[in-house]
């Protein structure tokens, strides 16, 4: 084993340990803010793994989108809610935790066996390496053109939906005149908060 391979093995071990530890922390910690920050660490470790797999662009995109945008969004989402109610301890909560752990370990064992038992077909093409970005560009505009263009519609709709859901609604006042028709489907409870504008 030469030094380059050794460095790779060590980096892989460090990244994998970091990722597993952070992922366990995301799931097991009680403080949701810590979980969110650890999620960022998980994303960073994954992008490190991408680099080890010669996918530099994917790694950069991972950091840019997941760490830079999605994780920040998650943090803002958490910080918007100013309710830190301690969860009431559930009786025999350990039972469900054990059940979850058993199910997760079972799935892990199944998938692990599958991965080891399958004779994977490795591509014989040369590794693109630094030229991968150009290749991705060529694919975007030839055989993956349709999903590429569809992604723009998807992004447009996501933007509209996000703004519709997050913006402060101006309360329409032309509703008052309608007495013939009532508003559909009043909420069952929470009538005070749910139908403030619809007397």
């Amino acid at each position: 084993m030469n030094i380059a391979d050794g460095v790779q093995v060590v980096s892989f071990a460090v990244l994998a340990l970091m990722m597993l530890g952070a992922a366990l922390g995301v799931v097991l910690l009680n403080n949701i803010v810590y979980s969110a920050f650890l999620l960022g660490l998980v994303f960073i470790s994954i992008s490190g793994l991408y680099i080890l797999l010669n996918a530099g662009f994917v790694a950069a995109a991972q950091v840019l989108i997941y760490v830079g945008a999605v994780n920040v969004l998650i943090l803002f989402g958490i910080m918007l809610v100013n309710k830190r109610q301690p969860f009431a301890p559930v009786r025999s909560a350990w039972l469900s935790k054990v059940a979850t752990a058993v199910v997760c370990l079972g799935i892990f064992a199944l998938l692990g066996t599958m991965v080891l038992a399958t004779p994977w077909q490795l591509s014989t093409e040369a590794i693109a390496g630094d030229g991968a970005l150009v290749k991705i560009g060529l694919h975007f505009f030839s055989d993956f053109l349709l999903p590429f263009e569809l992604a723009s519609v998807l992004l447009l709709m996501a933007l509209i939906g996000a703004i519709v859901l997050a913006r402060r609604e101006y309360l329409p006042d032309e509703l008052e005149e309608e007495t013939v028709l009532t508003l559909p489907e009043r909420p069952r409870e929470l009538t005070s908060s749910g139908s403030r504008s619809n007397p």
Binding site: V81, D130, G137, L138, F140, L156, A162, A166, R168
Partner: protein, 120 residues
Amino acid sequence: MFVLSGYEYFLGFLLICGLVPVLALGASQILRPKRSGVERRTTYESGMEPIGAAWIQFNIRYYMFSLVFVIFDVETVFLYPWAVAFSKLGLLAFIEALIFIAILVVGLVYAWRKGALEWS
């Protein structure tokens, strides 16, 4: 097999960056006098006395901005390979990218008109 170039420097920087806090904290751990008292826990020299917890309620505006940011961040990632491979792609790809951008510009105009870009 690892073929990406330029990551040796990255690794070197990573090591140095990792060492800086370890060395700084480790050195002070060794060198500093070990005394404890009430004074030691107060804010050092300047700055305000902290009031309340660090976990405060954020304004919803931050959320709006980061939502819009996510969308355009993804758009950037999509357009970056186009820019890199531009010289090999030709006119057709230029038109295709224009369609992509045009659809998203409608989204930008929408966000702007609906006041999602204003800090009000």
